[in-house]
């Protein structure tokens, strides 16, 4: 009984009083509950693909948002894993729970390969070099057509699971677990995992970080490896879900998609990437299949991006968070926006307003 009340208090404190986390909880509940409302195959398909792309986008965010290594070739990680998982499944008949991790490991290798230029190059130079990796890999795919099936790709890959609904749950749960892991790895406030703090340091000021004795090379490699791993998980899931693997997974536009979704949702926050994908992908997809929407689908996408970046340059979730959350200036706990006093230290949350009010009062008295 004591534990129950302790648990309830813990939930209240850690989750229910923080608006951002409440939204996250509602989101989790919603996606888990959807198949109870409808098992419409097409609908579940869209959401399953959204989950896969959410993992993909979040893996990009991990790299670019947190360590500042802008990677324009994320599709390379995804594509390598798709092909590896497919080849293992087709030729060696390995089951799903083996091919996906192995595919992810192949993506890790490519991640480390991509890291090599990252150690010497910065900014735009690094971006361009990473951009060329999927293109070069595409070339490789087209050379070794006996193994890769050339431009037609591979087909007849084994299923993810028995039915659409189990596919959906499998993918969503993997997404939640993986995204949570990524969030923990990059949460700078975490006491358990130090890597996040170091990633932040590398992003903000690499020279100082190095001067403080941190081996930035090692941490950059960790970042690339992790990003590759998670993108690889997404790739493996994709291969088994679509049951075909082709060079379309290495296309340039696919690399850009991860970036566009994440920037829209909020860079530097794992949940921003997830939110970006969950909002944009179903929206654009549904638009495309409406007879009139098909023509303006990309235009709407581009306009949404432009307006978001002009008015919310940090991304949607960051903007929303700023509106619904207030951080206490004294003890740094997060409070909901309409509170006047902090819930843990009772300090006044909205100092400037009060100061301004008093200033106004003073000026009013003076006769100018």
């Amino acid at each position: 009984m004591k534990y129950l009340s302790w648990f309830i208090r813990w939930i209240n404190n850690r989750i229910f009083s923080i608006p951002g986390r409440v939204i996250a909880l509602l989101f989790v509940a919603a996606i888990l509950a959807i198949p109870l409302i409808t098992t419409e195959s097409y609908f579940l398909r869209i959401l399953t693909l959204t989950a896969i792309f959410a993992i993909y986008a979040a893996s990009w965010d991990l790299l670019a948002g947190f360590t500042g290594q802008v990677n324009l070739g994320q599709a390379a990680f995804f594509g390598v894993s798709v092909y590896t998982a497919s080849l293992l499944n087709i030729h060696l008949n390995l089951p799903v729970w083996a091919t996906i991790p192995l595919g992810a490991l192949a993506a890790v290798l490519i991640g480390l390969l991509t890291c090599v230029p990252a150690l010497r190059l910065r900014g735009f130079y690094l971006a361009l070099v990473t951009l060329s990796f999927p293109i070069i890999l595409n070339g490789v795919v087209l050379i070794f057509t006996d193994y890769t099936g050339g431009e037609l790709g591979l087909s007849g890959i084994g299923r993810l699971s028995g039915s659409r609904v189990t596919d959906y749950y499998l993918v969503q749960i993997v997404m939640l677990v993986v995204v949570f892991m990524m969030y923990k790895f990059t949460d700078a406030g975490s006491k358990m995992v130090r890597t996040a703090l170091i990633f932040h340091a590398i992003r903000e000021d690499e020279i100082t970080a190095r001067a403080s004795g941190i081996d930035t090379t090692r941490y950059k490699m960790v970042a690339f490896a992790m990003s590759g791993f998670f993108a690889g998980i997404a790739g493996g899931l994709y291969a088994h879900y679509m049951r075909i693997a082709g060079p379309s997974t290495l296309e340039l536009i696919f690399s850009f998609q991860a970036i566009l979704w994440t920037i829209f949702g909020g860079i530097g926050t794992i949940y921003g990437a997830v939110a970006g994908v969950y909002i944009l992908y179903p929206l654009i997809e549904v638009m495309r299949l409406h007879p009139a929407g098909e023509k303006i689908q990309v235009i709407v996408f581009a306009l949404i991006l432009i307006f978001t970046l002009l008015f919310m340059p940090q991304g949607l979730t960051t903007w929303v968070r700023d509106k619904i959350e207030v951080t206490c200036p004294r003890c740094k706990t997060i409070n909901i926006w309409y509170r006047k006093k902090c819930r843990s230290c009772r300090a006044s949350l909205h100092l400037e307003k009060r100061d301004r009010q008093s200033e106004k009062g003073a000026l009013d008295e003076v006769d100018l």
Binding site: I136, G139, I263, K295, I296, L305
Partner: protein, 290 residues
């Protein structure tokens, strides 16, 4: 064989060079990655198509109009969209990419995906050193040479050029010195878009005009600018030529691999950057510690 490689490499490289120059200019001055640069080139091509084929205006006149129109469009786009988010590099990159996609879709709606052809200024071909070259290709190289000279003259001999170079080196001090940084940036964008327009006029007759024609040159332009070193206009032109030669070498030495031309020239870029991280003529900036 040598003559073939020489001439074709020059042609391929020369056509990239015009586009690379405009891109490099804007990046050096305003520090913006304008990913819509090749989209301006596409718009100029469609503009010329519309005015010369549909409206029947003379070709040279259409070209001039196209350059002016694209230049103006570039200035407007910059002022309205990019100026306010100049500080956020990635935001600029994404917005310009979105603008490019927007142009592509608008052109798709207006013109549909059908291929069109802009008639060449000088039809026909000739033989140089035993190699067939179309007059339009030669015109493209000559024009890019002129543009290079023109921009060099603009930058080094005129007051405007001095102002542009000042802003490129240190915009804060330039601002303090009384140069209207915002206006210079806008103007540079206009010039850059105008250059893309010239490329459209000169290069478009060589390729098919269709709403997806901006993507492939974009990659090559980015590669050329990076290889040459950011902030160096001379570098991007030389790099464009190098990449053009790399592609041509592939086609002549490994004809079965001509589909790899793009991948191989990017490989060249990667290798060079590994050896020289700032690009061939790149200016190394001290990392700003704010």
């Amino acid at each position: 064989m040598i003559a073939n490689i020489l001439i074709n490499g020059l042609i391929t490289g020369g056509t990239f060079a015009i586009l690379a120059l405009g891109f490099s200019l804007v990046f050096g001055v305003a520090k913006i990655l304008n990913l819509a640069h090749t989209a301006f080139y596409m718009i100029a091509a469609f503009f010329i198509y519309t005015t010369s084929v549909n409206l029947g205006l003379p070709l040279a006149f259409s070209a001039v109009l196209a350059v002016l129109f694209t230049g103006l469009l570039g200035m407007v786009c910059y002022k309205v969209l990019l100026d306010r988010v100049k500080k956020h590099e990635t935001a600029v990159m994404i917005i310009s990419l979105a603008v490019g996609m927007l142009f592509q879709e608008l052109l798709l709606i207006i013109f549909s995906g059908a291929y069109r052809r802009v008639p060449p200024f000088i039809p026909g071909f000739t033989e140089l050193l035993g190699v067939r070259v179309s007059y339009q290709h030669l015109l493209a190289i000559v024009v890019s040479g002129f543009i290079l000279l023109g921009i060099w003259a603009l930058m080094s001999k005129t007051r405007l050029g001095k102002a542009v170079r000042a802003v490129a080196e240190d915009y804060e001090i330039a601002n303090v010195m009384g140069i209207n940084v915002s206006w210079i940036c806008t103007l540079t964008n206009g010039i850059s878009a105008g250059l893309a327009g010239v490329a459209g006029a000169v290069v478009a007759p060589l390729y098919m005009v269709q709403p997806y024609m901006w993507m492939h040159p974009l990659i090559m332009v980015l590669a050329a600018v990076v290889l040459g070193g950011l902030g160096s206009a001379k570098g991007s032109v030389i790099a464009a030529l190098i990449l053009g030669f790399a592609e041509t070498l592939v086609i002549f030495l490994v004809p079965g691999g001509s589909f790899l031309r793009g991948a191989i020239s990017l490989c060249v870029m990667v290798v060079v950057l590994m050896l020289r991280p700032e690009g061939l003529f790149g200016v190394v900036f001290e990392e700003e510690r704010l």
